[in-house]
């Protein structure tokens, strides 16, 4: 069995990759994917902790988080569709209506 510490490490790596992607990429879909990556990193962290402590609570949280992630993706994609309808683009730099 893999040591939960390795899983935890991988989770951290995935999270940082997701964060960096979310910071740097312009395409909204990619940013969304990065956010999903971070979420899954968190899930992995939960799983690792659950194994480490021998407690099922972490697994339960993971399942919840996956459900939330799914709905979040649905909403995110809907927002992008609406955004495309308004701005004919899903590049984040083109959309800054909240500025000032």
């Amino acid at each position: 069995m893999i040591d939960p510490a390795w899983v935890s490490g991988l989770s951290a790596l995935l999270f940082v990759i997701g964060l960096a992607g979310a910071f740097t990429r312009k395409n909204a879909i990619i940013v969304l994917m990065c956010i999903e990556l971070m979420l899954n990193a968190a899930n992995m962290q939960f799983a690792a902790a659950a194994v480490h402590h021998g407690d099922t609570t972490g697994w339960v949280y993971t399942i919840f988080a996956i459900a939330i992630a799914a709905s979040e993706v649905a909403i995110g994609l809907a927002i992008f569709l609406a955004m495309y309808g308004q701005h004919e683009s899903i590049t984040l730099d083109d959309v800054n209506v909240l500025k000032n």
Partner: protein, 847 residues
């Protein structure tokens, strides 16, 4: 043995029906109002029921019959407090650490004693007569058409207020009915509410009496605090008074003093007298009602009610100062009001000031009687007892005489005004059709359009903000503001809208505006000859009367008898009581030198009364007609004649009432009505006391008072006013001596009083000694200044706080707004940084 509390329990079936005396008129109020609303304009309602007048009449008649029944049952039995029938309103408990300590129940009960009996008769009898008069007065004037039901409804409510106040068995209910009367007086004085002066007078009467009522309420609260109840049965019980007198008599004096201020307001005494003359704005029956039957008597009733406190043995001497204040206020008002009455030209205003002055007499008399009751040892000394009883009785008897005479005088003056008014309409019918004046703002608008060269259509389009094709009130208001014509509040805009809006849909369209402006423009060109008729004929001014004795014989007789009664002319009505008041005030003055002030005032006032009452009669009925209108006056109608006829006999019969022991009208069985002597003995006794007193001081005093009141005062008036009737005019034989005397005296002296009339004092009197002026000024200074400060505080503190919060948050948000880039990645970055910061924070705390 003389003494109080010779209470005799009476079982009377009349007492069971006593609540109906109050309830009948009270129930008639909604009935008349609703029927009037439903059947307004209906022929049957107008002709047969006189718009409610003939519903009110039997109701008041029933009240009078029930009152008389009650009075006859109780007439021989003065004394104890009778709680006859009781109806519990609600019960309340006082709690002290979870335990009920006291149970108090508030209920309505009937209380009958000598004061109740007196006022009950005055109120129910005069209300019925005034109702009869009102049918002849209100229903024959077209100005009242289709709204008389409002008059009669408020009238019966007013009467029920007075009757209820008199019958109530506690100060609480006295106060409730007192306020009911206040409300009705407001409604009735403002009956012609479309006249600004009437609306103002109503407001003034309401607010001025309210000032007194606040004090009354505080006084009642103090009384409650002392006795734990406001029921007469509790507060007037000797045991309770003794207890209070032992602990804090000073507080009781203050409570009674504050209650007296309430009476001052209600009875229009100095310094709260300003509302009474203005109350003449109401229709004449209302004046008669307020001045004779109800309102002003309420204050006197309240003071008379306080007798048991003053009379209690344990309060001996404690309330003498308050008694003096009552007498002093009375004395001051008596002279002041009489002086103002000298220069009034308005017939009703003379009577109004006369009321004020005569009520002041009653207050002085009550003050003297209460002083005597408070200082003499009348519980054990028979002579002192008789003195107290007679002093108190004289004041109450004057209340009776004044009510009868003043009710008659007001109704007679109403008859005169009514007929002069009709004669005027007969002679100048065109004055009847006052064209509604167009608002001047419309003329200004027409001129504005002409000046700026705009077409009505163009202007209309520019003000029709929502382009609906019609202009509503708001748009019109904005347009007028923009054109710099007027910035009117919404209620004034209604007036303009009404003038323009022809179809009455609440909005203006182009043709309406065009037609109206055209009409206004034309009217302004045709203009100026319309202004000739603007000086209105005043049907109430005595300057427009004169010589009416031959044209309205019954009215003139009634006026003559009423005036003589008020003047205290020997043997007629008020003579018996006025002599008593003057004598008793002087009696007190001999004991307490402070009382010389009210004593001199009432003596002087007697002469002044003689002058202004004679002046009024002579100016109205003697001499030759001063205007064409006065020459064409006709006798009045039967409805008006009935009460005049009845009351004339009541005033003429003063000697009978005096003989029946009305001057001994006091809480003791031995001095009750008809209980001391038979009628003949009583009359002899009164005659002897009035004209041949054994006490030299009072003998001289009564002749001095007689000389001043019946010879000097009227004599001066006879030499100044009136004169013989015109050639060919015949008057009733009983006017002949008056008119002959008038002619002789006027011919011999024929004084010229123009120098006095132009003096500063006369001007001051005409301006009512500037009381209204200074009150208005004080109001402006105090109330307006306070309002201004309050408005400032509102703007600076309350609005200021809100605005500061708003401004600060605005500034803050402007600063913060510059941080937002609108870029999603920046938000993510910030979220991440924020999370990290939180994490670090938690880490720092935990570690």
């Amino acid at each position: 043995m003389a003494g109080t509390g010779s209470s005799e329990l009476i079982h009377s079936t009349a007492a069971q029906y006593a609540p109906y005396i109050v309830l009948l008129p009270m129930l008639a109020f909604p009935i008349i109002l609703l029927l009037g609303k439903m059947m307004n304009g209906d022929k049957m309602w107008k002709e047969t029921l006189k718009e409610g007048g003939l519903i009110a009449l039997p109701v008041m008649g029933a009240s009078l019959l029930l009152s008389l029944w009650l009075i006859t049952d109780f007439i021989g039995a003065f004394g104890g407090v009778e709680k006859l029938s009781d109806w519990t309103w609600f019960t309340s408990s006082m709690w002290n650490s979870g335990v009920v300590t006291t149970e108090i129940s508030f209920g309505f009960g009937i209380h009958i004693d000598h004061i109740t009996v007196m006022l009950l008769f005055i109120a129910s009898f005069l209300c019925l007569l005034i109702n009869t008069f009102a049918v002849g007065y209100m229903n024959t004037d077209p100005i009242n058409d289709n709204r008389n039901h409002r008059f009669y409804a408020e009238f019966v409510l007013f009467c029920s207020g007075m009757l209820g106040m008199v019958l109530a068995d506690s100060f609480l209910w006295l106060f409730i009915f007192w306020e009911l009367m206040g409300l009705c007086s407001y409604l009735l004085i403002g009956f012609y509410y479309e006249r600004p002066s009437a609306a103002y007078a109503a407001k003034k009467a309401f607010l001025t009496t309210r000032v007194g009522d606040v004090f009354l309420m505080v006084g009642l609260a103090m009384l409650w605090d002392l006795f734990g109840s406001l029921d007469y049965a509790v507060v007037f019980s000797e045991y309770n008074i003794d207890k209070v007198a032992a602990s804090n008599p000073g507080t009781l004096a203050w409570a009674l003093g504050l209650m007296f201020i309430g009476a001052v307001g209600k009875s229009a005494q100095f310094p709260l007298h300003v509302w009474l003359p203005d109350a003449m704005e109401g229709p004449t029956p209302v004046s008669a009602l307020i001045h004779a039957a109800t309102m002003v008597n309420a204050g006197l009733y309240l003071v008379a009610r306080m007798f048991p406190f003053f009379g209690a043995e344990s309060m001996h001497g404690e309330l003498a100062d308050l008694a003096f204040i009552i007498a002093a206020i009375g004395g001051t008002t008596a002279v002041m009001a009489a002086a103002i009455a000298f220069v009034q030209h308005d017939l009703k205003k003379v009577l109004a000031y006369s009321t004020m002055s005569q009520l002041a007499y009653i207050f002085t008399g009550l003050g003297a009687a209460l002083y005597l009751a408070n200082t003499l040892d009348w519980h054990h000394d028979d002579t002192a007892h008789a003195i107290v009883i007679v002093a108190f009785g004289a004041a109450l008897f004057h209340l009776f005489n004044h009510a009868m005479a003043k009710g008659m005088l007001f109704m007679a003056s109403g008859a005169v005004i009514h007929e002069v008014h009709h004669a005027h309409h007969h002679l100048h019918p065109h004055d009847d059709h006052h064209h509604d004046e167009d608002p001047e703002e419309l003329l200004m608008l027409a001129n504005y359009l002409a000046d700026t060269g705009q077409s009505v259509f163009g202007f209309f389009n520019s003000i029709d903000l929502d382009q609906s094709g019609e202009v509503d009130t708001y748009e019109f208001q904005t347009a007028l503001k923009k054109a710099d014509i007027a910035d009117l509040p919404p209620w004034d805009m209604q007036r303009l809208m009404k003038a323009v809006d022809m179809d009455g849909n609440g909005r203006i369209n182009v043709p309406e505006l065009e037609l109206t402006l055209g009409r206004v423009h034309l009217a302004s060109l045709a203009g100026d000859d319309h202004h000739d008729h603007h000086d209105e004929f005043d049907a109430q001014s005595m300057e427009n009367m004169g010589g009416l004795a031959s044209k309205m014989p019954l009215t003139a007789t009634a006026m003559l008898v009423g005036s003589l009664s008020i003047m205290g002319f020997p043997l007629i009505g008020g003579f018996w009581s006025k002599e008593g008041i003057i004598a008793n005030t002087w009696r007190v003055a001999l004991e307490d030198p402070r009382f010389f002030y009210p004593a001199l005032c009432v003596l002087l006032g007697a002469g002044m009364t003689g002058f202004y009452m004679s002046r009024m009669w002579l100016k109205t009925f003697a001499g030759s007609p001063k205007t064409e209108v006065a020459a064409h006056v006709h006798p009045t109608n039967t409805w008006i004649k009935i009460p005049l006829f009845v009351l004339t006999f009541f005033s003429l019969g003063g000697i009978l009432f005096a003989g029946m022991g009305f001057t001994h009208w006091a809480p003791d069985i031995e001095y009750g009505l008809m209980s001391q002597k038979n009628l003949f003995e009583g009359i002899l006794y009164e005659m002897e006391h009035a004209f041949a007193n054994h006490d030299v001081f009072f003998l001289i005093l009564s002749y001095v008072a007689l000389f001043i009141g019946a010879i000097v005062g009227p004599g001066i008036a006879l030499s100044l006013y009136g004169g013989a009737l015109d050639e060919g005019e015949s008057a009733k034989p009983w006017f002949a001596p008056v008119l002959a005397l008038n002619t002789v005296v006027k011919g011999r002296y024929n004084w010229d009083n123009s120098s006095f009339a132009q003096s500063g004092f006369a001007t001051a009197l005409t301006n009512r000694l500037y009381f209204d002026h200074y009150y208005d000024m004080a109001m402006l200074k105090i109330v307006a200044a306070f309002s201004f400060k309050a408005a400032q505080a509102d703007a600076d503190v309350i609005d200021g706080t809100v605005k500061t919060i708003e401004r600060t948050s605005q500034q803050l948000s402007t600063t913060l707004r510059s941080l937002t880039t609108g870029s999603a990645r920046d938000y993510i970055l910030m979220a991440a940084v924020g999370t990290l910061a939180l994490f670090a924070l938690i880490w720092g705390v935990v570690a």
